[in-house]
């Protein structure tokens, strides 16, 4: 059997994929926004003085990092409703899974960046009478945040790609939309290539956007 690459199928599938792109973007943005807050909270808890918040943070991070996201998704979408007797809509479940999953990795990014700030900065803050939280808010966090940007960019790209796993719980995101198109026209090569190109366009945009943020911050201060 001879294979012909059909450009028209490739190009026609792209507009059809946009429905999926919309879900992919909503889940990525929603999941990462929540994931960033969760990660910042857990990351700071891991640096807490008291053992209890530290233990909670470590348990969470290890549990999430140590299990596949696919399993987490199946567990939340199919498992948890059986225990609680409530159904979680696929889109909500998708956002929660991305948030909970990226949160664990972001927590480590936050912890590392905060720890990398010279302790002299904290001492200087405390020496002018700032409280612990004021010192974190005005002195350590702004400096740490700048150092978080490159690894956060990585995590954003990983999470965006991870949304493709959510097709197993029936979220109509990009990959699932592609699969639905293939089910109709059987043009797997063209359609999945188009899916890959659309993912690539999105990840490259994230990388570009983060470079712009970094340059902007570099202009504001030199360090």
């Amino acid at each position: 059997m001879e294979f012909h690459f059909d450009w028209s199928v490739f190009f026609e599938s792209i507009p059809m994929l946009m429905r999926g792109v919309k879900f992919t973007i909503v889940i990525t943005l929603g999941g990462l926004s929540l994931g960033f807050f969760l990660g910042a909270l857990i990351g700071l808890m891991k640096l807490a003085r008291h053992a209890f918040p530290r233990t909670v943070a470590i348990t969470y991070i290890e549990a999430i990092r140590g299990t596949p996201m696919l399993v987490q998704a199946m567990f939340l979408y199919y498992g948890v409703p059986m225990a609680l007797g409530i159904r979680i809509p696929p889109l909500t479940a998708g956002i929660i899974i991305i948030a909970v999953n990226s949160g664990a990795y972001i927590a480590e990014i936050v912890r590392g960046a905060v720890q990398s700030i010279d302790p002299g900065q904290t001492e200087a803050g405390r020496s002018i009478g700032l409280t612990r939280s004021q010192t974190m808010l005005y002195i350590v966090w702004p400096q740490a945040f700048k150092r978080m940007i490159p690894p956060l960019g990585n995590q954003f790209i990983i999470s965006l790609k991870d949304t493709s796993l959510l097709m197993v719980i029936g979220v109509g995101e990009l990959l699932r939309t592609g699969q639905e198109i293939v089910a109709v026209n059987f043009k797997a090569f063209e359609v999945y290539l188009a899916v890959a190109v659309v993912y690539l366009a999105m990840t490259l945009s994230i990388a570009k956007g983060l470079r712009m943020v970094e340059n902007h911050l570099d202009m504001k201060t030199t360090r």
């Binding site: 001492e123 020496s127 002018i128 700032l130 030199t222």
Partner: protein, 242 residues
């Protein structure tokens, strides 16, 4: 009146005892220089005074407040005892002016415009008003340390603790920092200065203290301290640095 009273201060890190019972009184308006070999515990004493280090035992009274008393607001004590660090520790993400006004704005809740006025006046005092809008990285070491002094002054403290303020500077930049410190001393500021600058100690200090091996070995006026040291360790030390 006593500004700082240190009673039987001990400080250990694990099994290593670095401060082995220090008593020290510093009066209001006094300039006290603390010298000693590195590792002698002199910086640790200073850092215990505003509780950047927690003493293992002993008492420290700053402006009448026991810093170890759980009822004492340590943040308030720190506004009364400013600190200047060896490595400056300026906030790199803030302008020079914001470095100086952060304390007044966030701790004293001073309105921005008043804080800016105060900040500019303090920068004027250390000769850096023209650098207000610059970032710390654009300054020389000596300029950074002068900004750090302005920052320490921003809360109108009753005493300033200097932790080797010139040790990280290139030799040609030491003078401008000492000049600002001299001026502060002449205005009657209470100062505790951990330093290796013997000339400064001799000229400016009211008292010079030699700490070695975690205890005060000598505590006298600069004249006797440098010309007629009683303690053999101090004689040995002065012989090495002079």
């Amino acid at each position: 009146m006593e500004m700082i009273k240190i009673i039987n201060l001990h400080k250990s890190y694990g099994d290593l005892e670095v401060i082995k019972g220090i008593d020290l009184d510093i009066k209001s308006g006094e300039v006290v220089c603390i010298i000693g070999p590195s590792g002698s515990g002199k910086s640790t004493v200073l850092r215990c005074v505003n509780r950047l280090e927690t003493p293992t035992s002993g008492r420290i009274i700053v402006d009448g407040k026991d810093i170890m008393d759980p009822d004492t607001d340590i943040n308030h004590v720190r506004t009364e005892a400013g600190m200047v660090f060896q490595q400056f520790n300026l906030f790199p993400h803030m302008t020079v002016l914001d470095n100086v006004t952060l304390g007044p704005v966030k701790v004293r809740k001073m309105p921005r415009s008043d804080a800016d006025k105060l900040g500019l006046a303090l920068l004027e005092k250390v000769g850096l008003a023209d650098k207000a809008r610059n970032y710390p990285e654009q300054l020389s070491g000596g300029q950074k340390q002068r900004v750090a002094i302005a920052r320490a002054l921003s809360l109108k403290p009753k005493v300033i603790l200097f932790d080797e303020p010139t040790s990280a500077l290139d030799p040609e930049l030491v003078g401008e920092v000492l000049e600002v410190m001299r001026q502060l001393a002449s205005e009657g500021m209470t100062m505790v200065v951990v330093t290796h600058e013997m000339g400064f100690a001799r000229d400016v200090a009211d008292r010079v203290i030699f700490i070695d091996d975690g205890v005060v070995q000598e505590d006298s006026n600069p004249g006797d301290f440098f010309s007629n040291p009683k303690n053999p360790r101090l004689r040995d030390f002065l012989g090495k640095v002079a």
